[in-house]
């Protein structure tokens, strides 16, 4: 009995040594992509598709798991950051993750990550089909006439859609009664049932309902109009309100990130395959059918985009009084 024990014991050392020696090429093991938002959402779906396609090229499994919770996905980000910085653990993130810092769940800046941005879907403002407002102008005028009387739904306070709504309020001078929902889907449902009159979510999330006539789009919150199958062109909100350009657009940025300390050759290997996947037909077809705009940014470009988002989100939340940590203490520059 004892002899066996000693042998097992020795085996541990030998094998552990072997395991360390062979890590040169990337990837030799399965990769885990920890999505910091719940399953079924936009970030989750995007990450699963990109991971699935990248796995084919890497010839290893990429396991996508969900680790939601905390503020701005802080639990998942902290977990990924605490694992070895070897490129085998990724964090599936989105633009809203940049709020984790000022909400007290993440004590670092966002530049400790390197990003691989898949893309996002532009935001659109819609109303209940039987609402009296024909276009954005009528809606804004009505909201100005009686400030706070029109109910507008969007996902949770501090989310990208909430920020889009706020930017619209700032740029046009209207004031809505903001009703928060746990996600975009419940907010859209509430607009269908008439609980709220106005809803702001992304085109990808709304497209089915818009095309079926369950919601009526008034304006895109981007500089360009948007053409949708069966519906036609949705005008940009910048037309009637050019002042919006100071606050908008605030675009989604869905993708994944690895800690910046991951070896350069590993990051390069990931970026190379990532770019191939973004350029592939599978992803193009998927993005077109689901109304996503592909980005494919990596490296410095992607980092800059997230820095911009970080300062915008952090300071907006701070002004709203919904931040716990002053962005100044984290040395986040003002937008």
């Amino acid at each position: 009995m004892k002899r066996y024990a000693v042998m097992v014991f020795l085996l541990v050392f030998v094998c552990a040594g072997l395991g360390l020696a062979q890590e040169k090429k990337f990837p030799v093991r399965d990769i885990t992509n920890v999505v910091v938002w719940a399953a079924g959402g936009g970030t989750d779906v995007c990450n699963r598709i990109v991971s699935g396609e990248m796995a084919k090229l890497f010839k290893v499994n990429i396991n996508v798991i969900n680790k939601p919770g905390g503020v701005g996905g802080s639990i998942g980000m902290n977990d990924v950051y605490s694992r070895p910085h070897d490129g085998y653990t990724w964090a599936g993130v989105s633009e809203s993750c940049v709020t984790a810092g000022v909400q007290g769940g993440w004590d670092k800046r966002m530049y400790v990550w390197d990003y691989f941005i898949v893309g996002g879907s532009p935001d659109v403002l819609s109303v209940t089909p039987n609402a009296p407002y024909k276009d954005l102008k009528e809606l804004i005028e009505a909201a100005k006439a009686k400030p706070g009387s029109i109910r507008a739904g969007a996902s949770a306070s501090g989310s990208i859609h909430h920020l889009n709504l706020l930017a619209l309020e700032k740029g046009s001078g209207a004031k809505f009664n903001y009703i928060p929902y746990p996600g975009s889907a419940p907010a859209q449902t509430a607009a269908m049932t008439g609980e709220v009159a106005v809803v702001v979510t992304s085109v990808a999330e709304q497209q089915q309902l818009i095309r079926a006539g369950k919601l009526r789009p008034l304006a895109m919150l981007t500089p360009q109009p948007f053409t949708m199958k069966d519906v036609g062109s949705i005008p940009s909100s910048f037309g009637p309100y050019p002042g919006l350009s100071t606050y908008l657009p605030i675009m989604q940025a869905i993708g994944f990130a690895v800690p910046a300390k991951v070896p350069e050759n590993v990051k390069e290997a990931i970026a190379e395959v990532f770019k191939k996947v973004i350029a592939s037909d599978t992803l193009k077809v998927w993005a077109e059918q689901n109304y996503y705009t592909l980005s494919g940014k990596t490296g410095k470009e992607a980092k800059e985009e997230f820095e911009k988002l970080e300062s915008l989100f952090a300071w907006t939340l701070w002004e709203l009084g919904a931040a716990e940590v002053n962005p100044e203490t984290l040395k986040i520059p003002k937008p």
Binding site: C15, R29, D30, N61, S157, Y178
Partner: protein
């Protein structure tokens, strides 16, 4: 349990409940804003995040008071006063078994899982848990208990003082190795204690088998089939990795 004994406990619980309800209300009033706007939402009393906790606090206090009255009526309060001064306490056999389970659950969840290789901690806990109760002898249980407790205290000191970080820096997976050594010593110790009894030896072998095999099956299927990353993937899971990637 007989009725007055139950009411005695109810009396104590009811006091705790009233205190807890009071705490809820104080916390809510002092910590949660009832009026000021938070997060860009217009705030009035009926929108306040404090509304629900206050209601719960009030209801808990109400229920606690009802329970308290009932306990006084049924003589529970008197019983509390009676037993308060007669400090006669003896650890019965059942209580000891209960403490054993608590020790196992606490050390597993709070001591080993966060710091030690998941396979190793599971195997250790299964062996300890099964051998505690499957051998089914009060004297052995006591000895095992003390032995295991001592080992855990050593590791507790190691972990709390932060020496384990230092050790792991000196040599990869050294903490895992130490825990594994503890597992082997526990095996040896329990085996020596029962060396004269054939029936117990057979049970001991089953315990060992039932601690190694389920851990192996469970962890392999979670890690490689269901693709769940485990809490701490230390030396043993690294060995499993090597086998897994050698096989494909």
């Amino acid at each position: 349990m007989d009725k007055t004994e139950l009411r005695r406990k109810d009396f104590v619980t009811s006091l705790l409940l009233i205190a807890f309800g009071f705490f809820l209300i104080v916390y809510t009033v002092s910590e949660i804003p009832m009026k000021d706007s938070w997060g860009g939402v217009m705030n009035v009393w009926y929108v306040s995040p404090g509304l629900f906790p206050i209601c719960i606090g009030l209801l808990i206090m109400l229920m606690g008071s009802i329970l308290c009255l009932r306990a006084i009526k049924d003589g529970g309060a008197k019983k509390v006063l009676d037993t308060l001064f007669s400090r006669e306490k003896r650890i019965s056999e059942k209580t000891f078994r209960f403490m054993g389970i608590l020790l196992i659950i606490f050390t597993y969840v709070y001591l080993y899982i966060p710091r030690v290789d998941y396979f190793l901690s599971t195997m250790l806990i299964l062996m300890v848990f099964i051998s505690f109760y499957y051998l089914d002898r009060q004297d052995l249980l006591k000895k095992f208990f003390m032995f295991y407790l001592t080992g855990c205290l050593v590791f507790l000191i190691l972990f709390v003082s932060g020496i384990d970080h230092y050790l792991n820096q000196q040599f990869l997976y050294l903490t895992d190795v130490l825990v594994f050594v503890f597992f082997l010593i526990y095996l040896a110790y329990s085996r020596i204690l029962i060396r004269r009894d054939e029936a117990l030896r057979k049970k001991w072998r089953i315990s060992l088998l039932m601690s190694v095999l389920p851990s192996l099956v469970l962890i392999a299927s979670f890690k490689y089939f269901l693709l769940v990353p485990l809490p701490v993937e230390g030396g043993f899971i690294e060995i499993m990795n090597i086998f897994r990637y050698a096989l494909r």
